[in-house]
């Protein structure tokens, strides 16, 4: 069963319930978009799946290829193949991008094996070129002082180097200029494949013109309340979220 299955997932933070019996299935090979108003729980969903320790899972399950993720440590989940491109990437002073990604790759190797420097840099530079990132970035501290757009590109660079099975992109489009949006989208599209599932969280239809989703889900107060094809995103863009409220109430 190649998919990420989220069943009746409920989670809270500091006693406040955020996710409420959420259901979502993401089969490998597909791209799904998640939309929804501010505060509806989209980032919460991504962090709960990634194992963030601040959230308490109060019910349900989330299985990656049949294996339960909930309760595992964030690094175990990451090594099982779940990648989260953060809405707000964290700055880590003192650690260069090159060293950071290398350490992340190293963490996936069995003991005794190590990343080969020559191959590594070749691959890193290739991906940076593809994403239109200047090579001087490799020696800069991770995300430190990066512009909003640079941070997002750096997330996609990490994603393409780590080649995860399931990718969650949390508002990767916000903060990107028009050219960057295209370059980053191309980068994401290059990663599409029959083996890989992608969950793209966004507020804007614009991104979905580049990264065309197989399905669109609408989140509302911690639940997926509506799912449809890519036209649903267009409809949301035109009509806003108010009509959803009525649907939910109905």
């Amino acid at each position: 069963m190649s998919s990420l299955n989220i069943n009746n997932l409920s989670a809270s933070i500091e006693g406040k319930a955020i996710l409420d019996n959420l259901n979502l299935d993401l089969p490998a090979g597909e791209v799904h978009a998640v939309m929804g108003p501010n505060g509806s729980g989209k980032s919460t969903l991504s962090k709960v799946l990634a194992g963030h320790p601040d959230y308490e899972v109060t019910g349900g399950s989330a299985r990656l290829e049949g294996i339960e993720l909930l309760g595992l440590s964030p690094d175990e989940i990451a090594r099982m193949g779940l990648f989260l491109a953060f809405q707000y990437p964290i700055e880590v002073p003192g650690i260069s991008i090159a060293n950071f990604i290398r350490a992340a790759l190293q963490a996936r190797l069995p003991e005794g094996e190590s990343v080969k420097a020559v191959d590594y840099y070749k691959q890193l530079y290739e991906k940076m070129d593809e994403l239109g990132m200047d090579r001087t970035f490799t020696s800069r501290s991770l995300n430190e002082g990066f512009s909003g757009g640079e941070k997002k590109r750096c997330e996609i660079l990490q994603m393409s180097m780590l080649e995860p099975r399931y990718c969650i992109l949390d508002e990767t489009d916000s903060g990107l200029d028009i050219d960057a949006l295209r370059e980053v989208s191309l980068g994401v599209n290059r990663m599409k494949g029959p083996e890989r599932g992608m969950l793209v969280i966004t507020h804007y239809q614009r991104l979905l013109e580049y990264i065309v989703p197989d399905k669109v889900h609408v989140m509302w107060e911690g639940k997926v309340v509506l799912s449809g094809d890519k036209d649903l995103a267009l409809e949301l863009e035109q009509r806003g979220y108010d009509w959803i409220r009525n649907e939910v109430a109905a």
């Binding site: 990634a50 601040d54 440590s73 990451a78 953060f86 880590v92 003192g94 060293n99 992340a104």
Partner: protein
Amino acid sequence: MSTSNQIAVDREKGNFHFETDYAYDAGVGLSEDVVKYVSGVKDEEPWLLDFRLKALAAFEGKPLPTHWASKDLENINFDQIRYYLSKGQKPSRTWEEVPDDVKNTFERLGIPEQERKFLAGVEAQFDSEAAYSRMKDDLEEKGVLFMGSTEGLKEYPEVFKKWFGKVIPTSDNKFSALNSAVFSGGSFIYVPPGVKLEQPLQAYFRINAENFGQFERTLIIADEGAEITYMEGCTAPKFETSTLHSAVVELVALKGAKIQYITVQNWSNNVFNLVTKRALAEEEAEVRWIDCNIGSRLTMKYPGVILKGRKARGEVLSIALANDGQHQDTGAKMVHAASETTSNVIAKSISIGKGRSSYRGLVEMPGRPSHCKNNTECDALLINAESETDTYPAITVRGRDNSVQHEASVSKVSAEQIFYMQQRGMSEPEAMSLCVNGFVNDLIREFPMEYSVELKRLIDLEMEGSVG
């Protein structure tokens, strides 16, 4: 990027112990008799015994400095310590001649191997005396002296006496007085004018016995225009009871000389490490202390440079790592006693778990010098919520056109940073190690290549033990 030529430092590395018989044992506790015993074993001249006895009185007359330093000092039981232990052999010039139990210890610590690889000479001290001492022949031909302090005092008293106790007077502090009373071992080095050592000399200090106090005394003199790099390493097994290490290290850099002194302190967590280190820098001389404190229960060490000659330069680069149950109380002293002298201090400390690190800095400009410069930067990294750090800078500037700059920072590794790194697949300890490495990286780059100490592996090991 990783550095290739690294010294293996491993916190568990020193934690082993072979049974050993000692020919000379001063027994337990400190008294005039013990001091006389030590002096007698070494067959010292009367002036030296007199020096020691006066030092003992000074030690007894001084209170523990608990009014400013850690109360933990009160847990040193001076009556339970053994002040002198040796096998009664002269230091050997070949490893074959070193008694098996001692040789095995140093082999396990990798000392002969390092000697072959990149050192100009090694002295290996086992408890109170050097077991091995050897320098490359060509250096001997150039007139370089490298031996234990016991031998130095005997064979070259005219050089030794001239500087002995001149940089650090007996009564400088309670522990320099203690050292002066019972000192044994340590290195004596003299580098003649213009001689530049290309490879470093190394001393390795090993505490083997329980309840033992090690009190080595090191004196390094670099004559005019001479250059030397000296490195010391140290380990002890983890005993139940605490152990005392109290050294005095005096450096003399004459006109235009350069001394670089590197310490990798990796004592086990039961060692009180109370060390006085100071250098005298004459005109245009340069002294650089590189000090890495990783082990010990309490370290109190503030390497200093007295910038006595015009344009002399002093530097302290230090890294301290304080884990649970450890207090690294370190710092630097820069005394600008002449004009146009410059000093630079970069101190980085990392506190993990309940570990505590303190920085004490002293910058003085006595005698109204002019055009002096000091730059001090101390950065602390806190890994856990309960980790501690504190800073006590003291600066007195007199004279004119002097510049003193002090910068301090405290940063914390945040839970969000760790989560972010874990999301990329690193375990929590790996993530913390990476943060710590990132924190010390720019400083380690300043270290000589051979000593770009393998802090990474060491830090990894420290982190593994401290998480989860």
